[in-house]
């Protein structure tokens, strides 16, 4: 069995807002446990408000959980200091193709940015590697000089994937990464992710409200509802015999 990349161990996250009588608490994650192994994609499905976005920021080390442990490669994931130390090992492909890239920067430089952050080099020092990555995501390397608004939504999302891959990370979070795309473009991006994972062996957390996309590329599926994981199973098993009532509902809605 391959190495465990990321592990969430009974993670609970509570949001507190307001004060005095107006104070309210919202449990965004309740005792969530999951793990992602090398070369594997864990799909996380849930409706809006189910807590999957919070799970994403916890898994990325952006938010500290109220209780429970988050381990990356066996070590506690820690705060901002540790984030600087393990930079390049975790990346993300965000949801909205409009805002996944800095609109004021040629996309080639956006792809180079994580590399430059590794050793403090200039953004322009990585042209060769950028060309290589653009080829890998099946884009014309000449597009590196373009700005995001000169590209289509699908192209922008490919650039975001190239950017996430440029440091050879061990773990990538895809946060609704294909949800805003048209079906025809979405299929290509899904296939691209599958191919790149086979080649690079990163572990992936693929978060989406779209069960069809998740079950197409995930090896295992976790279903989240009201902050809890109600079912976590191999994709094949999930198809055949969904155990939880809510999972069955989701499958029927397809």
């Amino acid at each position: 069995m391959s190495e465990t990349i990321l592990e969430l161990d009974r993670v609970t996250t509570v949001f507190r807002t307001g004060w005095g009588r107006g104070r309210s608490e919202l449990v965004a994650m309740r005792e969530v446990s999951l793990d992602v192994r090398a070369g594997e994609t864990l799909g996380l499905v849930g409706e809006s408000g189910s807590g999957k976005s919070t799970t994403a920021s916890v898994a990325l080390g952006l938010r500290e959980p109220t209780s429970g442990a988050v381990r990356f490669l066996g070590e506690p994931i820690g705060g901002p200091k540790q984030r600087r130390a393990r930079r390049g090992l975790i990346q993300t492909v965000p949801q909205n193709p409009h805002w996944s890239l800095d609109p004021r920067m040629p996309v080639g430089l956006s792809v180079a940015e994580p590399l430059a952050a590794l050793d403090g080099s200039r953004l322009t020092a990585h042209a060769e590697r950028v060309t290589e990555l653009l080829r890998q995501v099946r884009l014309d390397p000449a597009l590196a000089a373009r700005y995001p608004h000169e590209l289509s939504g699908g192209q922008r999302q490919r650039i975001a994937i190239a950017r996430a891959l440029v440091t050879n990370p061990r773990f990538i979070v895809f946060d609704e990464a294909v949800s805003a795309l048209d079906v025809s473009v979405q299929a290509q991006i899904l296939n691209l992710i599958i191919d790149l994972q086979a080649r690079h062996g990163f572990g992936a957390l693929f978060i989406s409200h779209d069960l069809a996309a998740v079950r197409y590329l995930a090896h295992r599926i976790a279903v989240m509802r009201l902050g809890e994981i109600v079912e976590l199973a191999d994709t094949a098993r999930f198809y055949e015999t969904p155990e939880h009532e809510y999972s069955r509902q989701l499958l029927e809605a397809l």
Binding site: Q95, A117, A164
Partner: protein
């Protein structure tokens, strides 16, 4: 359209690109820019080559109406008004520009820190801004002038204190919008350091807001300088500024109306021009479509 300009621009000189950029503004804004350019050039010529004569020399009869010899008439001491006007334009524009430059630097720094970092420092910055904002502009200005002592420094400090709170607030808001964007989160996850994120991503994406708010701050600056000098707390004699000239003009309003009309009109024109440029910049950076209800 911007893309087209940029692609062509790569092969052209900086001057040429700047010219192209200015040429892309609408007619109203272009007229405004020309107005400012003419005012500034005339003032510069006055300063460098003594256009219109010396601002302090007594050259003729007192309160003479505009004529060939004295294109803008003479004042109560028999000084020609034209060179004093030119000096006033220079003082007002330069003083306001320097003050707004200071404001822009302070407000951008504070706004980005408050908007991006938030937390206690950000809260403190915003609170101090709120406190300054609670003072009516001209009251704050004369209070500062009284403490510092009337003069250029007082005018400069007042303008900065009056314009900083609002601009900080606007920069802070713009920063908060940018900070929520996915590309910032991606940069954080990639381990890009906070100062780099602030300059590389945040600053670039709020540059439009800074340009627009800076322009509006410039028009406020001229208003404040004028008001302050008018009340006697700004630029002092024998110096000259547009506000001071208007104030002088009030004394001889009936006998020599040109003394108040000329500086007054120039002051209004300058502020109007700057506001028009601000509007045009805003339309460019924050485009809005208009709808009808049919």
């Amino acid at each position: 359209m911007t893309a087209v300009i940029r692609v062509e621009g790569r092969r052209r000189s900086v001057l040429r690109r700047a010219w192209d950029y200015l040429a892309s503004f609408d007619g109203l804004a272009k007229t405004a820019m020309w107005t400012l350019a003419v005012l500034f050039t005339a003032a510069l010529l006055g300063r460098l080559f003594g256009l219109g004569g010396s601002p302090t020399a007594i050259v003729g009869p007192r309160l003479a109406p505009p004529s060939l010899a004295y294109p803008a008439g003479t004042d109560s001491l028999g000084r020609s008004l034209l060179p004093r006007l030119l000096e006033g334009v220079m003082t007002t524009l330069l003083l306001s520009a320097v003050a707004v430059l200071l404001t822009a630097v302070i407000a951008t720094l504070c706004g980005i820190i408050a908007g991006y970092r938030g937390g206690r420092t950000g809260g403190l910055i915003m609170r101090v801004g709120d406190i300054l904002y609670a003072f009516p502009a001209i009251v704050l200005a004369i209070l500062v002038a009284a403490v510092v002592g009337p003069g250029y420094v007082a005018a400069l400090c007042s303008i900065v204190l009056v314009t900083v709170p609002l601009m900080t607030r606007m920069v802070g808001q713009a920063t908060r919008l940018v900070a929520q964007r996915d590309f910032i989160t991606s940069a954080v996850i990639s381990g890009v350091s906070t100062p780099v994120i602030m300059t590389r991503h945040v600053l670039r994406n709020i540059s439009g807001t800074i340009a627009v708010q800076g322009t509006y701050a410039l028009s406020v600056a001229i208003l404040v300088e004028g008001g302050l000098s008018f009340l006697g707390y700004g630029v002092q004699l024998p110096g000259s500024s547009l506000g001071l000239l208007v104030q002088e003009g009030t004394l001889y309003m009936v006998k020599a109306p040109w003394l108040i009309l000329l500086p007054g009109v120039i002051l209004v024109l300058a502020i109007l021009a700057i506001n028009l440029i601000g509007d045009s910049l805003r339309d460019r950076f924050e485009p809005r479509e208009a709808r009808s209800l049919e």
